[in-house]
Symmetry: C2
Subunit: 457 residues, 2 copies
Amino acid sequence: MEQFDLQEFVDKVHALLESKNYRELKVVLNDEMPQDIALLLEELPDKVMPPVFRLLTKENAADVFVEMSTDSQEQLLSVFSDAELKSVFEEMFLDDVVDVIEEMPASVVKRIINQADAETRNQINQILQYKKDSAGTIMTVEYVSLKAHWTVRECFDRIRKIAVDRESIYTCYVTDEKRKLIGVVTVKDLLLNTYETLVRDIMEEDVIFCTTNDDKEQVALTMSKYDLYAMPVVDGENRVVGIITIDDVLDVIEEETTEDIAKMTAVTPTNEAYLEQSVWNTWKSRMPWLLILMISATFTGIVINAYESRLSALLFACVPMLMGTGGNAGSQSSVTIIRGLAVNDIEPRDTLKVVWKELRVSLLLALCLGVACFGKLMLIDGLLLGYPYTWDVCLVVSLALFGTVVLAKLVGCLMPILAKILKLDPAVVASPFITTIVDVLSLVIYCQIATHVLPAI
Amino acid sequence: MEQFDLQEFVDKVHALLESKNYRELKVVLNDEMPQDIALLLEELPDKVMPPVFRLLTKENAADVFVEMSTDSQEQLLSVFSDAELKSVFEEMFLDDVVDVIEEMPASVVKRIINQADAETRNQINQILQYKKDSAGTIMTVEYVSLKAHWTVRECFDRIRKIAVDRESIYTCYVTDEKRKLIGVVTVKDLLLNTYETLVRDIMEEDVIFCTTNDDKEQVALTMSKYDLYAMPVVDGENRVVGIITIDDVLDVIEEETTEDIAKMTAVTPTNEAYLEQSVWNTWKSRMPWLLILMISATFTGIVINAYESRLSALLFACVPMLMGTGGNAGSQSSVTIIRGLAVNDIEPRDTLKVVWKELRVSLLLALCLGVACFGKLMLIDGLLLGYPYTWDVCLVVSLALFGTVVLAKLVGCLMPILAKILKLDPAVVASPFITTIVDVLSLVIYCQIATHVLPAI
């Protein structure tokens, strides 16, 4: 696959700018894909960017604008004349217009809304009212609707007439006189039948649809599960108000996964790409979690202080290994389960299956790790490094490790499922929290075993 | 959105099986989506599953078979007659046949290959030769190819004739007499032009394509970036051999993300869903990492043993907090960067930007955490819990925490980028390894500060 080389493109554009060869620049620029032109514009100095943007053809301008970062969009809007603004927004699909509006300050939003005609303005306001992360916010209002009494020929006439303005034309929805959804027919179905066939005879009446209020992640998972290229969105009265297309699904899934990964590693998710975030915002998304986790470590301190008189330095030296292995073992399980829950591979009704499996795996792991730990302490720490590890100390550490691993796995697999049952977000309870719990439990096990097995020191 | 209720479906089928109402069962069964029928079959007892499968219509049988787990597929194949096997595989797309073949034991593969006609057998063997994770392994060989000298009318005639057997017909590829790729035309383009228009006049010649050897993840990312619904795959001589469709992209992205998440949490990725994995396989995917990480913790032990005579129990009690916060701070950065690299938001040439940003964020975080830690030790541990923490001990811990957080963030952001530059997998170097490095470094900082600031104990 030919990889797009951004650096080469940037260099070429800089050279053409320097030699003031704007005619050639216009050709070179418009020749690339909108996504790549947007990447280029982000790399140009603030002063040069708007004039280069103005070299884009009318159609490219809208496509490129949609792909740019919020900062750059705002910068462009601040220098656009009203005519330029109108021309860019007229070419955009309505869902993209709404995406831009949602990120802009009020004064800019006013300018955008003012240039739109009355119907568009109504539609924009409608979409803006849908609740956060709902299907309504990602749907496209431009779709093809057909009537059940039409022939295939009439359908093609209709599609030909409106296809230019439609993002997706291949899945068409059949609606009755009240705009209620009654069926779906694909262009493939239309092509495979004669011109005289009636839509009602070939349409599929069992349509999978969603409502404007449905959660966009669930819609994305459903479309992915059934390999749907498009899904109709209906309002409270079952009237079709838009469609969600598969490229939106890709965006939703990427966004939701990034959010899940952020939460699993104790970061508050944001919508901005990493490099676009301000230092302040990155700080804000990380600080609370580190603070909470630091303060919750008070408990491990309490355990150590409680047992300090009875634990030798040799035993203390094994604490990081013990807690580290416990943490790793726990997050192996928790993260696997969280991912399984996210892609619907695991559901709360599988709890018993999961626990039974984790129990067997953890016993196997704990046994192997315990034996390995005993060997490591005797050989590496004892013989090789010369620390005075006796067999009973090694046994205590290995037994504690055994208990820690089994416990860590059970806590690790149960917490995310419990969160799901309690309608909390499984990703939030992930590794760092589970690690804190496992840390405390493993220390208690360790100190208890040590004080019972070893003679008082 | 209407959610499919598996339990309800299973109960209904069980009831019909018990009352031996097979006619009604057949209707109920074939009425659901293939994906849901597959889920149902997985829930049925081993003895009942094959006879229920036989109630499926010919078309449904193939669609359901593709969606089932490898275990169930093998079970079905073992009871299928040759005629049944032939009928199911004839209805399947070739890429799905290859997917099944890749998971089956040799004897079963032989039966599948034997029932295929000579041409299909050749194509299967061809696809089986593509290297793992390459575009060739996920492409569909059924696509629509057109000729440049055809009119739109001829194109529609062609599409009508072959559409039934084609997974995706909306993006058509224009090839020359040597089957070389010369352009792309969509059904939308065809619909928007008159029947007499020539393909060469409306086709887009600048086609984004990939070769059979390209990495499937890169292909998926490119298709996602440019919102492509299909991408042609060419061989070494630039001849079109297949296409990749957007639903394959969804699968690849889900699979690769699950793999990345597994690696980040120190688990060897597998292709099987969690509940399908045997205990043995789960053990195998987790054991090596826990073992390596446990043994690498030897270093933290060495540090503690080296300083043990000079560190009081009070100082030891803060070690878990210090190491935990360091680990959390480090994985916040590393996981964010790994995800950024995976979705191409961050590239190696951004290294300086990333480091500069992490440095500023980490100084801010470290300052706040240091102050908070001082306060926590004095107030919670000192006043509230009554441990004898003096201000100089608190200062040592807070200073060590400051250094640990800054260091953890820098190691955390640099390691994944370094891995990427060295063409290693960034996800593999993630949290657990970085945590081990940070653990050792933070202990050294801590002990050094303590021995220099505090009077000998």
